[in-house]
Symmetry: C2
Subunit: 694 residues, 2 copies
């Protein structure tokens, strides 16, 4: 797809110069100095030759075919240069020049001009305002800045795509120091042509790349991100993603709780959680991630054996494992017996296993002990915290041989300095035993492996569950921005979500006979009053005798609160009993439809106790969502109360998820608040609901 | 206090040997090889000389005074060796030998024997089962293991005390790599004599030590930890504390919510939060902490200016600052104007300030710009993320000069590799400008500085606030483990906490005339039923007419639930209106009395929404506690409701805190659950309460 971009047979440099301080000068120098394996054509109408190379007046006068142009002319000349590339049949261009959208109003016109040139020419453009592309396999240093000044970057099966060119250099430097090679770096700049996800798609298909790393500020196409996440799981190729720009979004209009409870960053996190992504927040995280996945072993579960030569480190590792949701099983009695024969009396054979510093000095028993630990049937992966004893070579040999014989991941946390470990860590890592600088790093790497492995084990691709409810055709009422409570409940009922028995009483009609049980709930129905409770338009515990008076009072309350409100009537409704839950759904134009569940109105809002998934979801996923709530205990028979009807709750979640998925083109939000979940076997009822349109 | 331990004029080695694999052999070698500046006396009755040094049969036959003995004989001989030291007038001993408490039952008798010898002899003992003491000022390598094998540890004003000897080496190695020197390391082992806090007290008084680092598994004396925390604030000397062993405490008896809501680790965290501690969780954290405080500048507030040469790093830094609770103010217009004259058009002068990579290449304008930023009156400290441009020396000179002129902390986050920064970071750090490896590290260091500075600015030492309520003498009823609700409310009333109007109705007396407003709450009073609600012993909304029937029903419920229950009677109580809060207090034997506030029963429990402080507290602290609750918004006029009586709530918290503080010797727990906080001006009422005794 993008092969010619990353391994062009020839590159033209438009705006070539012999001044390496210029964007057209530095790449000419860097490509030559670093031994780029293709041809380089300087293009500059004012020069006949540069640095001994013949110079061409235009890309149309090149002596042979050309796959890529590097554009370093002033911004104003970039659109014409792109059109030239199109005429000359050059399929790709990297635009280093700045002065477009990123400088604000002044650059917008030029950006539009460039967009037009890209459209017309069909040239696929990286940038503008980017630092360029580094591709080590062909030694292509096609850019400028610190990243392109280091001739010694090591090679490795990692591709990095960054929306911050400057930060890419920092990351690469740290990777190099940790012994990690990065074959490809793309600085995407303004993404006028090719965007970050185009590169992700390319590298997912490139067998030479085993880890994709993203430094993301923002993406326009959330659905494509999610689709690529699914593809990454299928390919078992992780995408490490470092998302920044997540806070300080500023105040947004507070339309509903569902919207209030979901921030921009949540859409990303939900996409990361469902697909083949590993979220990192730190350079260290990223290095730990690259090391963990570089070993190409995935655990079958999350049961960790901790092996140390110091009790203190074992305590620390156990803390971190528990925090990370990893389990620390007891070893099987057979393993304990075998270990007992090898280690000193004062060693601890519980998990964490402390083999003692004394044993670490005796390579053979030590690695034999390691062997017994990881072969234990209770163990899915092991973390070893140790110093390699006195005979480092023998120690390393044993671990290498042992790793070759077991498919279970073994992660080593170094004690001692980087300098010391430089002598042996590379050999272990080449054998599939990653070495981490800190105990916490080893644990967080283990957690990344476990989470990714679990996602690949799920019924992938779980792009869409099978329908649990039939599609229902709904028709948007002309001119309305939202449905009133009664209408919203009717739509939900058509999707199989139950609401309490109720009667709608028109304001201008006499009170009908009511076949309802009392006490009841009474609510004003008005298109102008979205927050009925605040307006004094709701009363609970109303007896039949007091009904007529209550209707008058509520109407008066609402008119006092909002004198212009049009009151259509009242809902008189049986009072449901149970635990209050909020079930919401919204359709994000970029990421797609999403369903949400949370504890009651106040608890969801104050404690952010909500779980979200992209819609539709099946009942199993709905149950996972519910059980993730901190308040889930309230539903499971809290303090002697009978357990609630979880099945009914999960059924509502799936039905709402299908309702938003079926109609996301025009329904913006659905909210049931509260859904009253009764005692097990008694169902769940939507006590209030709203549906809003785009 | 411990001067002779850390700088002895002579050291005896009991069990001296020329075999460096033995605990009595290695220190003899290490002291000599590393140039220890005092005298060394080998002691071994079976040798006349070792390594050319005369050997003494016993410490009683030494030729001169001796301050310290290193004990490396087999465990069984250790108690006698300690008695010998006592007879010989040697005040300190380091016991390296293992085989005591740490090996379980087998070692307990020997440990008791050792404890006796320590008591009788008066010798102050480090260990046993420790790795020893490293003191670089006198070049004293008094121990064994990896820590004592490195002759090149750099000196620096840090003292580390570790309950894990093995891990101390890892930490020291990482410090060394980061350019940090550690003058003292103590491995405390079993702490039979001297404990971790003895060393803290010593180093707090040592002017050569500016940062104390603790690696803690557990401490017996929480009050002393807290007292030392206060002293650290007074001395403005931070104690970095790395606490491990915090999870998997296992199930504990669930007596009350207050106890359930407080785990062992919470006592430590509360102590760390109030005193001069900085909690770290990672080697990196510790290094960041040491660098931050090593610069000896504390900020006046938490307003951070972020300066970068790359927009991407600025976004990341802003995210992290917001997460860490730091603020990112706009710069003053004057500063923006000055900056505008210096930087290119496309630089961003909002905060984060992006000076652009171009400017970074021009040292003079760059540092001038830095100067304008940090001199801004809106700014308390600055974080600079940058590469030092081409002329590193000039760049460094400028920053050094500028730092010398300003008292505000400047933290630098390096871009590029450690190797590159090794050339200039040490110069900056020597000038008080710490350099951090990652942007996140710089932010977390900034947050540590701000939090510590805030604690020193508080009215220190706030050891005990002035009394807000008089001490009331209370008398523990003989034989009772707890007070019933009625009695607990009476005690609280004596401390000035109000409860609703109520009448106690004895079970065997006729129903009296009740001067109460209805509907009321009715509750069974029984010493045998601590969980009245679960037993069906509570009813709300009882009308006067239905009272007699309700009493019968409740009694029947309780007897069904617990047939042997002794029912003393009923409380008939006016129904309070307001927000439900839990206020609790408990007296921890180690750490002292503590007061707690949380949202309602369920919310505190499910969402852990509680705030704790050691008691007593004043009203200002109580208010801080309340405002830290996530649910605090419910009290401040949530969704149009009138605000609650915060003053009354705070008053209750302070009164309960005094009640536990006054009687902590015998009251174990006080709990008001719920406290009903009414609308502003209407007070707060204890609707239920319990007092439990030790």
């Amino acid at each position: 797809m993008l092969q010619q971009l990353f391994d062009p047979s020839a590159i033209a440099i438009i705006g070539a110069s012999d001044d390496i301080r210029r964007p057209g000068g530095y790449p000419l120098h860097a490509l030559t100095a670093n031994g780029y394996r293709g041809l380089v054509y300087p293009v500059n109408p004012r020069r006949a030759e540069i640095n001994g190379k013949p110079c061409y007046p235009s890309v149309r006068s090149l002596p042979g075919p050309c796959d890529l142009a590097i554009v370093g002319v002033p911004a104003a000349n970039v659109p014409a240069a792109i059109e030239d590339c199109g005429s000359a049949g050059i399929p790709f261009a990297i635009v280093l020049s700045a002065g477009f959208r990123e400088i604000g109003a002044k650059g917008m016109a030029l950006q539009a001009e460039l967009d037009g040139a890209i459209r017309r020419s069909g040239v696929r453009v990286v940038g503008p305002n980017c630092l360029g592309v580094l591709a080590l396999p062909p030694r292509m240093y096609a850019g400028f800045g610190a990243l392109f000044r280091n001739p010694d970057w090591p090679r490795g099966p990692i591709a990095m795509i960054s929306q911050s060119g400057g930060f890419a250099y920092s990351i690469l430097s740290s990777c190099q120091e940790a012994g990690l090679g990065v074959d490809y770096v793309v600085s995407t700049g303004n993404e006028a042509g090719l965007g970050m996800l185009d590169f992700v798609e390319h590298f997912l298909a490139d067998d030479g790349v085993r880890l994709i790393v993203l430094y993301v500020e923002g993406l326009a196409d959330g659905r494509r991100l999610r689709a690529l996440g699914t593809r990454a799981l299928e390919a078992r190729k992780p995408i490490a993603v470092w998302k920044v720009g997540n806070t300080g979004a500023g105040s947004r209009a507070a339309v509903s709780h569902t919207a209030n409870l979901t921030e921009e960053y949540d859409f990303y996190r939900d996409a990361f959680a469902e697909g083949g992504f590993v979220e990192v927040r730190e350079i260290y995280d990223l290095i730990d991630c690259a090391k963990a996945f570089g070993a190409r072993r995935l655990p079958q579960g999350r049961r960790v054996a901790i092996v140390t030569t110091s009790g203190g480190a074992g305590v620390l590792l156990a803390d971190r494992c528990e925090e990370a949701g990893l389990t620390i099983p007891a070893l099987a009695p057979e393993s304990v017996a075998k270990l007992g024969a090898l280690v000193p009396d004062f060693a601890s054979l519980a998990n964490p296993v402390d083999l003692t510093a004394a044993l670490a000095q005796t390579e053979q028993p030590f690695t034999a002990a390691m062997h017994h630990v990881i072969e234990d049937a209770n163990v899915d992966l092991a973390i070893l915290r140790s110093y390699p004893g006195r005979d480092v070579d023998a120690w390393t040999d044993h671990l290498v041989a042992y790793a070759a014989a077991s498919p279970k991941p073994l992660l080593v946390s170094l004690s001692g300095t980087q300098r010391q470990s430089a002598a042996w860590a590379p050999r272990l890592e080449a054998a599939g035993v990653p070495c981490f600088e800190t105990p916490s790093g080893a644990v967080s790497a283990a957690a990344m492996l476990c989470a990714f492995a679990e996602k690949t084990r799920r019924a992938v691709p779980a792009r869409e569950p099978s329908r649990s409810t039939a599609r229902v055709e709904l028709e948007r009422p002309a001119g309305a921005a939202a449905l009133n409570e009664e209408k919203a409940k009717q739509w939900l009922e058509r999707y199989g979500v139950r609401a309490p028995r109720r009667v709608f009483v028109r304001i201008d009609a006499p009170l009908p006979a009511l076949d309802l049980s009392f006490p009841a709930v009474v609510k004003v129905v008005s298109p102008d009053v979205p927050h009925k409770t605040e307006a004094g338009g709701v009363r609970v515990g109303v007896e039949r005798a007091g009904l007529e008076g209550t209707l008058k009072e509520l109407a008066a309350n609402v008119l006092r609160y909002q004198p212009q409100a049009r009151i259509e009537g009242f809902i008189v409704e049986e009072q449901a009993r149970g635990v209050e839950i909020i079930v919401g759904a919204l359709a994000n134009p970029s990421f797609g439809p999403l369903v949400l569940v949370g504890m009651g109105g106040i608890q969801a809002e104050l404690f952010r106790d909500v779980a979200r998934r992209y819609a539709p979801v099946d009942a199993a996923t709905a149950r996972e969502m519910v059980l993730r709530l901190k308040g889930a205990r309230l539903l499971q028979g809290y303090r002697g109360a009978p357990p609630c009807d979880l099945d009914a709750l999960c059924d509502v979640i799936t039905r709402v998820s299908w309702m938003i998925a079926d109609h996301e083109a025009w329904i913006a939000e659905i909210e049931i608040n509260p859904l009253i979940v009764g005692v097990s076997g008694h169902g769940a009822l939507a006590a209030d609901a709203v549906v809003r349109f785009r």
